[in-house]
Symmetry: C2
Subunit: 327 residues, 2 copies
């Protein structure tokens, strides 16, 4: 029920995912609304889709808070409890990020030893996509959280991206040691002393230039980076469209250029990557962009499957314990 | 001597500015290196240009710190002292930002009542450019600093942009009250109680959509927003160039579209806006982008002239006193 185009795009994305994988999908929400976007029951059931009906759902603009947990018939709470009770192995949502974070934290719970779960996603670069975290789960962070984020990112990069010895960078406004704010400087010290392949401070440009495999930051700064990049992309693409409609010559030019620009659009768009993963919980929790279309949702489900197959959570626990012993 | 293409582009930009205005320009740096980029002395002197020779200069990668102040023959220190001693009314530099901030703070000094000077610049939007501060002077901020930044931005918007009742926004990762980190939440309270036309939290997209005239943030977050926007712009423009060279059709399309794209490039490029202004000091201090070309430098000098003509510093002092009385 979450997402700007829910439930239509969510349901259609889930149906797409069910067709192309062995995943069993529980669609949690208003049964009547969901059914509108599915073929007849025998057809969707054969694909491994079930509907779990809920009367209530959390709106996109509701303020997160512990009180949301008491909304026991809200789809997000029901879905999180399915994971908690072992009836589902992953939760995928395009809904209210703050609510998802709160409910997942309270219902699914943290992995042992994890202080704060972090929202991780793959950012496009000139090379392989870069694992970035925290992208918005924790607006106020301590240096130790950033160290844990780095360990989780390292594990994700190894297991999901197949990188042998991931280069870990610390997001900063300059590369020199001593640059940035107090939080970043203290995190720099902790990361330097860790057993990670820490390459130091990196600026946003270093991410796009693929100078790192993992980049860590506090959730406020990470989310601001994402939102700034999204804003300027929209600004540029809008202006390009305007430019390409100024006169006949520009129109023709735009049309001729369009096929070659398609891969750029894909790289920038969020639908390709499916979503962000809330790392550090006892279950896989994927957050798709609020503007998720069916393709985004399908990729979000695919990402959840991959994380389960590679046992990312198990590896995070192992590596966390190993790093604590060494520390 | 500061800037990636110094002194060539700096000197040429200054000469351009001298030709089109009555400004008297003191070029502070290595006399021989500067002279290489100027016409013969009678010619540049007639334009109101003088050279102030210095043996030393601060490199782009030197760590800022109070020790830089002791580099009494470094061009930046000499230039700041010219302002301090009333021999110059403004300082324009494309050099090391951290060093400029430190030296300006120590030599030029703060306006009475100002707790922290802030780096302000105009960001492009679909409407009028938006005054944004702090964009990098203060990596660690207190809520009260952000309130002062808002007052300074309000004054700048009134005096320089001619906006009657500037809408002031607080940069955040969401628009709802309560979103963001502790600093932002506390600043929100202070701004709400102020006599400013405070419109609440704004996201980066709101800036480009011209929903505010002034936006405030801490220097780390502001600089991160700028660097993220720059990084993604470069990424997109690079990919567009690649797309426009993929095949004959795309090449032709790119060529046909190019004239219409020119204004977009201008909007994104930093050369148009000249630079950022360090507000809250006893003199006008303009920081041009490190990659400044002659056009950037000329515009930076123009911005300094404008700030002097409109007496921005005087107005900041007045408004600050007025707001303190009301507070």
């Amino acid at each position: 029920m979450g997402g700007d185009d829910a439930p239509g795009e969510i349901v259609k994305g889930a149906f797409k995912a069910a067709k192309s994988s062995a995943a069993q999908i529980l669609l949690v929400g208003d049964e009547r609304a969901i059914k509108k976007h599915l073929p007849p029951p025998p057809l969707y059931k054969r694909r491994g889709i079930e509907i779990v009906h809920c009367d209530d759902y959390i709106r996109m603009d509701e303020s997160p808070g512990t009180s949301l947990r008491r909304r026991t018939s809200a789809s997000l709470v029901v879905a999180a409890r399915l994971v908690k009770d072992g009836k589902a192995q992953a939760l995928v949502s395009a809904g209210n990020t703050g609510a998802l974070h709160q409910i997942a934290l309270l219902e699914v719970g943290r992995l042992k030893g994890i202080r704060r779960p972090a929202l991780a996603a793959l950012l496009p670069s000139e090379g392989e996509p870069v694992v970035a975290l925290d992208l918005g789960a924790n607006a106020d962070c301590k240096p130790e959280y950033l160290l844990q984020f780095a360990h989780m990112g390292d594990t994700y990069s190894r297991e999901i991206m197949g990188i042998q010895n991931p280069r870990v960078g610390l997001l900063n406004i300059g590369t020199e040691v001593g640059k940035g704010n107090t939080l970043v400087n203290q995190a720099h010290d902790l990361l330097s002393e860790s057993n990670l392949n820490f390459v130091g401070n990196v600026e946003p440009l270093s991410i796009f230039q693929a100078e790192v495999d993992v980049v860590v930051c506090d959730g406020f700064v990470g989310n601001m980076m994402l939102k700034s990049a999204e804003a300027i992309s929209e600004f540029i693409l809008k202006r390009m469209k305007q430019a390409a409609s100024l006169n006949a010559r520009a129109k023709l030019g735009g049309l001729m250029l369009r096929p070659s620009l398609r891969s750029l659009k894909q790289d920038i768009s969020h639908s390709d990557h499916g979503g962000a993963i809330l790392l550090g919980l006892k279950g896989i929790v994927i957050k798709c962009h609020g503007r998720a279309d069916r393709e985004t949702v399908r990729n979000g489900i695919k990402a959840a499957e991959q994380a389960l197959e590679r046992d990312v959570l198990g590896r995070i626990s192992e590596n966390l314990n190993a790093s604590e012993v060494k520390a």
